[in-house]
Point group: C3
Chain length 340, copies 3
């Protein structure tokens, strides 16, 4: 594919500076990696290194400074423009829509049209696979699982019985949907398993990261709301209910029976106790330990979690404790002398 | 299935209050989800919301207050009663005990009676599978693995060569038993692999969570004692020895050569250094960092770990450091003025 | 196999003390597990328990004290000697080099000589498998993956399309190489996926732990340098570049676009923010939270990360805050009385 600067500007709904009508762009790449036939982009603080890039055209926002005479396309959101350019120049590979003779598909399963089921995938009795789904090798789709349209199920994933996926759900490799929750009755020091008889519901446009585990509910459903994106190696406990459009970063562990609102961001390695409610529009910094209910619009850090500003102030103060110890000692000495 | 209140009380070894002999209960559900033909249960602090539930019958302990005239079954342990009701009304689905023609089972493997081996599972040479085991798709059972009776091996699990499982062991999906331990010799800045020639032993009634990894020993065995239950995404290093009836919550990381007693609880995201000994009946709060040997009956938190009470007191004190800084400054000023 | 003490000393390039020419050693084991026909080793602090071991021969360094008249082989590095003895007495099992008729190997894949591809492994179109590789069951090798010589790919691993592995790379079970990075454009509160069009490059002698996830780059490559060893359940984000001979312990999470130098050690549960640069020869203690660029040769701990010595001093000081609060209160009282 070849595009002129003007064509790319139209595609991105941007405006051109210093056009070079001869130039033909054939690819998109990062600031450092781009060559003279590539388009690239920058946002602060990388904008200041723009002049070092070999990219033929640069996408910048209208607030960014002038460049060096090279063609620039100005857009409202350079990051979004970059995402669009990736789809233009590096579209996702088409997957052949066939059911492999090497897959195991129960005769009792309902398979939509335009579906790919690759070698050694398993689709069990009474599972329903919507139109346009792609199921990679070694994926396991348990009994009565319902999958909407255009889902992508990467290799070595497990979807246990009775779980429900909406449309356009993506399961990255090795993720486990609907594993048993960690529920036991302890009597006389012995732990007996509580059957985990519920399921997991992943609503439309949810994406689940590699080797992430979402446990099925004891009764009823563990739910991940529309458009929520979950990173790698995350644990969601049984009966958790996550709202819409949340972002859950790697290694987050959410204990059982936690309810989370919409548009909440958990940074990496955050953990929570169970049986709490977290409001909407909250942000939790990395490694935060959440031990109580959290109201809407909270920005928190630390363990036990506190407002982020407070935590940052406290961390700064803690670095003064060694000095303070000396000052207290000095005060005690001075006062003792004064008393004499 | 339909049961009268009286029949359920007998099943639960409880006593009935406000019986309604006409009532036929057909299911069990949570406090919020239950309908008029369901039985539900509550424990504090949820007991106070009981009157809002639509459940036809409620299971409560004898210490809980009177309800609203609705039938109540009083039992010693409502949680245990709920677990029993789940088994009554929602029994685990029977798995057909056949060896799928789509599985790969070595001719040199010994397979017990009443075993299910599902499509694309692999059972290698000289593996022994006890009576009543269920092996789901894409499970890998390596050479010479010994598995006791009635084990459940969920999809996409790996059991490497020579590992030993007792009776009724459950491996949740994606778990890895007997992966190589993280052992290297470093010489001149280069790390050479130390062969990991031991195995993993999971004793009777052990359950291993989704995507949890238990590494094989360098020599001898990594051991998980009878009845110990491990949650998702946990790491046990090589040569760890865990006692009986422990609970290990998600994202816990136990370094190599750690010995743990019986009835120890590790809450989520706890980590330990290697080569230490942890006594029996200990409890570690979430995110605890254990850096030393720990005696029996310890309850600890923080990093480096300290007694939980001390850690909670310290955390409360730390929140006063900002204020203390001001007070010290004020003292210094006053004292300076006094000296003048 | 049987070896005399003298033969073992020659094999280990060590010197014998108290030789017993009659003794025939048939195995190697740990200090506790070894019997009279075994050789074992010890390093401090275990050397002091040597006399309790039943091992027939002991490997010690020349700095270690005299033993009890038992044969001892003195070497420069007892740990390295132990590793060599494991390879001598417990060599890795030979894997039969055949392509299983139960595997799926694309006709368009290029398979080297002396390769094993076991049941239900998948090798996709245009993948290249170097000589001597062993691919275990349920491994997925995506399109155009390039694998060097003598790689070991354990069960249930996923290598997504276009990833590149050097020679002698080991992927432990359940690891995922080249899963999509966690990249989204957020507009009006909704997150749209940014295509992850790059790959992952694992250089020679890299080992990746069980269920560890290395995400593919958005563009270009996520890179793990030669000889770097990564433990279980680790997350490397998109576009990370790790240097050579690093050690990354379990549950470490490295956010996207982080560059790390050579010979860096991350202890368990360390986390980093994205878009930072970490120098060579650094060591990070367990649970460190790295929030900024780090210069070469740093040894750090705590969150936010600080020099390890400073962190240890601070942690010691924090334990005195409760006492300090009392002392400040006392000072205030005394000063008030003095003023009166």
């Amino acid at each position: 594919m070849e595009k002129s600067v003007q064509e790319l500007a139209e595609f991105l709904k941007g405006t051109v500076e210093h056009d070079n009508p001869e130039l033909r762009i054939t690819g998109v790449n990062g600031l450092v990696e781009a060559g003279p036939k590539d388009i690239s982009f920058a946002v602060p603080p990388h904008v200041e290194h723009c002049h070092l890039s070999k990219a033929g055209v640069m996408v910048l926002s209208s607030e960014d400074p002038e460049l060096d005479g090279r063609p620039v396309i100005r857009v409202a959101n350079p990051r979004a423009a970059f995402a669009a350019l990736l789809e233009l120049f590096r579209p996702q590979e088409e997957v052949e829509r066939v059911i492999s003779p090497y897959a195991y598909v129960s005769k009792k399963a309902k398979i939509g049209s335009n579906v790919a089921i690759q070698p050694f995938a398993v689709v069990e009795d009474d599972a329903e696979i919507g139109d346009g789904c792609v199921i990679y090798p070694h994926a396991y789709v348990g009994k009565r699982v319902k999958m909407g349209k255009d889902c992508t199920i990467y290799p070595n994933t497990t979807i246990r019985e009775d779980c429900v996926l909406g449309d356009r759900v993506i399961l990255q490799s090795g993720s486990v949907i609907g594993g048993d929750g960690f529920g036991y009755i302890t009597q006389n020091g012995k732990h007996s398993k509580v059957l985990q008889t519920g399921n997991v519901v992943l609503q439309d446009d949810v994406e689940i990261g590699n080797n992430t585990c979402i446990d099925r509910a004891t009764v009823d459903s563990t739910i991940v709301g529309k458009g929520t994106k979950i990173d790698n190696l995350v644990h969601l406990g049984h009966n958790d209910i996550l709202g819409e459009n949340c972002l859950v970063v790697a290694h987050v562990g959410i204990s059982g029976s936690v309810t989370v609102g919409n548009n909440v961001t958990f940074a990496g390695q955050v953990g929570t106790v169970g049986h709490i409610t977290i409001g909407s529009n909250c942000v939790f910094g990395g490694k935060t330990g959440i031990t109580n209910n959290v109201p809407d619009n909270s920005v928190m850090g630390g363990f036990p979690a506190m407002p982020m500003k407070e935590w940052l102030r406290q961390e700064a103060n803690l670095r003064k404790v060694g000095d303070m110890l000396k000052r207290v000692k000095a005060l005690e000495k001075e006062l003792a002398e004064l008393k004499k």
